[in-house]
């Protein structure tokens, strides 16, 4: 990555430069606080006892009391919802990568008629509000017995994640020189063997990162989950549908339970954030 053309201005008087630097540092500090403080406040609530959460005025320092979290995890349906979320996200991940990676490979290695049409189809998914798919699919699923199942919801979430999986794996495979594969062929590998023994090991970390990304997309999705599940609700659907009736400490503990895994996942794939969104430019 090259730096954009923002080099230091021609020598300015020291004072001006120092105050400019001060403005810059303050600005960065404010932006960092803007991102981090709200998360801290949610965690502070989740780590306080239920009575403290509703007490006034609130302290921004938590008492590190786990009563709210214990109440949340002991609440009827929460553990099931958590387990459903994990299952849906795992299936989403497998479907998105399983279908997306071959397509990404094909786009990176071959030139063939229809390639642009496929790319257009993938890019077009971005111009549509995908959670709305849940409406017609709800009917389709009742007909096929997929309603209110892990697989049914995972298929909708896979529609959200698949375009990303295709574009990410496309850029990953494009970054691996085709010469490596050709060398494997001359040494007697078949096309498939060359992919398994040479390309996949090189692409593995990136594929794992895009799998994590697919997991997070599903983990976080609210609308389709709320429309398509009734008995087997995911954590987001459970929280959304109990918003009116649940006490504050349950909401905040639930919010924290949603946020923390997502934070860890994003941390794990931080190196690949660019590959994921940067390619959206082409």
């Amino acid at each position: 990555m090259t730096e954009a053309g923002t080099q230091d201005a021609p020598p300015a008087p020291d004072r001006v430069r120092r105050s400019g630097r001060w403005v810059f540092v303050t600005g960065v500090g404010l932006l960092v606080a803007w991102v981090l403080v709200p998360i801290w406040l949610l965690l502070a609530n989740a780590l306080s006892a239920p009575a403290e959460v509703t007490a006034f005025p609130r302290s921004i320092i938590p008492s590190f009391d786990t009563a709210s979290l214990e109440f949340f995890f002991g609440f009827r349906g929460v553990l099931d919802a958590l387990w459903n979320s994990i299952q849906v996200a795992s299936v989403t991940m497998i479907v998105a990568i399983g279908l997306g990676a071959p397509a990404g490979y094909a786009l990176s290695r071959f030139d063939f008629p229809g390639k642009e049409a496929f790319r257009f189809l993938v890019i077009m998914t971005r111009a549509f509000p995908l959670p709305l798919l849940a409406l017609p699919l709800a009917v389709m699923f009742i007909r096929t017995g997929l309603d209110d199942t892990i697989l049914g919801l995972a298929l909708v979430h896979a529609t959200l994640a698949l375009p990303f999986a295709v574009l990410i794996t496309f850029s990953l495979f494009s970054g691996i020189p085709v010469e490596l594969e050709e060398a494997a062929w001359t040494l007697g590998c078949t096309r498939l063997q060359a992919v398994i023994k040479v390309v996949l090991p090189l692409a593995a970390p990136g594929i794992a990162a895009s799998a994590v990304f697919a997991f997070v997309i599903s983990w976080n999705e609210v609308f389709a989950a709320a429309v398509l599940t009734i008995e087997n609700r995911t954590l987001t659907a459970f929280l959304l549908q109990s918003l009116d009736v649940s006490p504050l400490h349950l909401k905040f503990a639930g919010g924290a339970a949603l946020v923390i895994p997502a934070l860890l996942f994003i941390f794990a794939v931080r190196k690949y954030l660019f590959a994921m969104w940067g390619i959206a430019n082409r």
Binding site: E3, A4, G5, T6, L31, W34, V35, L36, P38, I39, L42, N45, V53, F56, P57, R58, I60, V95, G98, G100, A103, R109, F110, F112, L121, T125, R126, P129, L130, P131, L132, L133, L135, P136, L137, M140, V156, A158, T159, L162, V166, N220, V222, F223, A226, V227, T236, L240, L248, F252, L258, A262, L263, I266, R270, L273, F274, G278, A280, N281
Partner: protein, 280 residues
């Protein structure tokens, strides 16, 4: 065989998208113009005559109209900072990108912790002696506070997506252009408006399209902060589908969201059009 190979590799993904993307959209369009098996516009009439429709429609557009420009300005600032930094660049980028991984429902709950009656905003105002007892911010009497809370939550949550796209785009701009402008005496601001911004058009286009469509889909943040007091198109769709069990009207709502999404996508594509020869 080798000739068929790319098609075989694309086949599963294509079939999947046809069954779970193209077909359902045809389906929802069909649902919106039929009722009991007959072609009719009754769903749309029913939707439009309901008192909540105009409110939901304008609320959605108003939210997008406020949120997206703020996000654009913030994302450009953040991306410029990250691009300029030499030390601590990846740490800062990670921090800025954190909200990317946070669910819109969780973001709504985070800002609920701040705005609710015993929340942190009331506590802070009380601590500063501004108020004597907590104010009920998120009530139907204070719709504009609900709007403000939703705007803050949306800006907080979804600026990161634009930022990452813009950082990647800024990385593609050759350094020489900025240097040349500097030689001719362009100030920092001039270099930003005359060199960086025009060269950034393709990324701006992607970022804006993605963001505007997501803004029209705003749902969980609104429900978490405003309940039913601040109707938007997506929450009304949910209400009709789930509470009123009327799929026809829900489908009509879906078509409205789809319609404004496509319309705005086309407008952005046109406004920020870059001829193929002018791309880097």
């Amino acid at each position: 065989m080798p000739r068929a190979l790319p098609y075989l590799l694309l086949l599963p993904a294509t079939l999947f998208l046809v069954v779970f993307f193209l077909y359902p959209f045809v389906n929802v369009a069909w649902d919106s113009v039929t009722r009991g098996g007959e072609m009719t516009l009754a769903n749309y009439q029913r939707m439009a005559s309901h008192w909540k429709f105009p409110t939901a429609f304008w609320n959605t557009l108003l939210l997008a109209g406020i949120v997206v420009p703020i996000q654009l300005a913030m994302a450009l600032t953040m991306a410029s900072i990250v691009t300029k930094l030499q030390k601590g660049r990846s740490t800062l980028l990670y921090i800025f990108a954190i909200p990317l991984g946070i669910s819109d429902l969780a973001a709504g709950l985070i800002w609920l912790a701040i705005f609710e009656q015993s929340g942190f905003l009331n506590s802070m105002l009380y601590g500063l002696g501004v108020i004597e007892r907590p104010i009920l911010f998120l009530s139907y009497q204070n719709t504009w506070v609900i709007l403000l809370a939703i705007v803050l939550a949306e800006v907080w949550r979804a600026t990161a997506i634009m930022m990452v796209i813009l950082v990647a785009g800024m990385g593609l701009i050759p350094k020489e252009y900025g240097e040349a402008a500097e030689v001719f005496g362009a100030s920092r601001w001039q270099r930003f408006t005359r060199v960086t911004l025009p060269m950034l058009k393709p990324s701006l286009q992607t970022a804006l399209i993605l963001r505007v469509i997501l803004a029209f889909e705003v749902f969980a943040v609104v429900v978490a902060l405003g309940g039913t007091q601040f109707p938007v198109l997506m929450s009304e769709t949910y209400q009709w589908q789930f509470t009123m069990q009327d799929r026809g009207v829900a489908a009509a709502y879906a078509m409205v969201i789809l319609g404004i999404s496509v319309a705005f996508t086309l407008v952005i594509l046109r406004l920020l059009h870059v001829p193929k020869e002018a791309r880097i």
